[in-house]
């Protein structure tokens, strides 16, 4: 437990010390979203209709862009191999680092989302479900992303490959995240969609650390 907290604390300290780099993914989130009204026109009705999709796509891409922070730096400076020699199994190391990644990336996105949703003219009735869906969905994005990030450690053109591997796996989160918000706005009830998101989070919590842990072990050879 102490080792788990040590990793979590250090990753948070690194994220804070690199404040700018951490805020970058939120900035990217905001900028991407402001592009849509410029692209599809400022008509409030149109924006309201696409708001949930735009928010989710932007969140997905922001998380994707931040994934290289997850293991890359630690791999390059040798920290990862030293952590691998530590008392904590790599699976739990992955979990600690994913938690830190979510706290420094997913959480700020969730906090920024309501404001941006209002800017996109999303009905206020959709906001609670949006927050709930993002609270369930963004950890899945970090977890699945960890698999891709670990698989592409020390690989040529890792960034492009990472997108190719991770984005398809993100599609279900996108579909149900958007469906939940749209369902609540149209008064259909978002419960089934939120339950599916929760049902995806549970196995991700087990599978992702296993797969990412194995991939890191491979990268340390």
């Amino acid at each position: 437990m102490r080792a788990f907290l040590a990793i979590l604390r250090r990753d948070m300290a690194v994220a804070l010390a690199q404040g700018a780099a951490t805020l970058l993914s939120v900035a990217f989130f905001v900028v991407t979203i402001t592009l849509f009204p410029l692209g599809v026109g400022p008509d409030p009705a149109t924006l309201a209709r696409i708001s949930s999709g735009v928010l989710w796509v932007a969140a997905l891409l922001s998380v994707l862009l931040s994934l290289d922070r997850l293991f890359q730096a630690d791999h390059e400076d040798g920290s990862l191999e030293q952590i691998g020699l530590g008392p904590l199994p790599l699976e739990l190391v992955v979990l600690a680092k994913v938690l830190a990644h979510w706290l420094s990336t997913g959480l700020p996105l969730i906090l920024a989302a309501p404001v941006l949703a209002l800017l996109l003219n999303m009905p206020v009735s959709g906001l609670p479900v949006l927050l709930l869906a993002m609270a369930l969905g963004t950890p899945i994005l970090s977890l699945i992303g960890a698999i891709g990030a670990a698989l592409t450690l020390g690989v040529r053109r890792g960034g492009v490959l990472l997108s190719l591997i991770v984005l398809p796996l993100y599609i279900p989160v996108l579909i149900f995240g958007v469906a939940a918000v749209d369902a609540s706005i149209s008064g259909l009830g978002a419960r089934p969609h939120l339950l599916i998101l929760a049902a995806m989070l549970a196995p991700s919590l087990v599978l992702a650390p296993l797969a990412a842990g194995a991939s890191i072990r491979l990268a340390l050879e």
Binding site: V155, L164, L167, P203, A211
Partner: protein, 254 residues
């Protein structure tokens, strides 16, 4: 296939035994190949005859129903090849047998091909029947994800220089992608999709007419034989390429 090589190499370095002795595999491949190739050709001729000529037209879909005889077996193969690839990957990871890794690698492009055929023929059928080339329903989307998984798997193999590491990284990805298989299979039952539910592999047995079942099964057999033939061919190529690289390295060393 004889003479040079594996034995001589093994003498140079006793450690080489890890690469197993692929001459056995190669000999088996040569033995099997003509059989599966002719089976494949025969089944295709008979299957296509029934599919395109000797089967009744559908009273609703008219002749477009014939696309199904190409589409449905391709979908089965897309899933089946992935399942085989994931199984081979698991075997490769656990028992570290290079032949299992190479089988998975050799199967991937074939599976991607079947998936692409499935998607394209589906679109061609969807246009006259549903009035649209593509809908974003669960079945179609999950098959598209399958296609991307194949591509990611192949790209990951390419990305590593060390074949041993490439094999293990790709195997991990293949196993992660297995979660997509039940989603594809059951997507038509779990969600209200435009795509029709299963009609051949159901608990109550096939729900379609025997006159349609016959060409379907013949075509499925032809696809399977095609897969086996090409897999053997590709596997042989992989083994020879691997051997060539080992030889080249042995020559480069003092």
């Amino acid at each position: 296939m004889s003479g040079l090589p594996w034995a001589a190499l093994a003498a140079t370095s006793s450690a080489m035994h890890r690469f197993a002795n692929p001459t056995v595999a190669l000999r088996l491949a040569d033995r099997l190949m003509p059989w599966s190739a002719s089976l494949c050709a025969g089944l295709f001729v008979v299957g296509l005859y029934y599919a395109l000529v000797a089967s009744p037209i559908d009273y609703q879909q008219r002749d477009t129903v014939r696309i199904m005889y190409v589409h449905v077996p391709a979908a089965w193969m897309a899933l089946g090849v992935y399942a085989m690839m994931a199984t081979a990957s698991a075997v490769g990871l656990v028992w570290k047998h290079p032949l299992a890794d190479l089988s998975a690698k050799a199967a991937a492009p074939i599976g991607a091909g079947f998936t692409l055929i499935c998607l394209v023929t589906g679109a061609l059928w969807g246009q006259p029947t549903w009035g649209t080339w593509w809908v974003w329903d669960a079945r179609l989307t999950s098959v598209l994800i399958l296609f991307f998984l194949y591509l990611g798997y192949m790209a990951l193999w390419q990305a590593y220089d060390d074949p041993g590491r490439a094999a293990r990284a790709a195997a991990i990805l293949a196993l992660v992608g297995v979660v997509n298989l039940p989603v594809i299979k059951f997507s038509v039952d779990w969600w209200n999709t435009l795509h029709q539910p299963a009609s051949v592999f159901t608990l109550q047995g096939p729900k379609i007419d025997p006159s349609m079942l016959k060409p379907l099964m013949l075509m499925a057999g032809a696809y399977l034989a095609f897969f086996v033939t090409v897999l053997i061919y590709r596997l042989k190529a992989e083994i020879l390429a691997r051997r060539a690289s080992v030889l080249r390295r042995a020559r480069a060393e003092p």
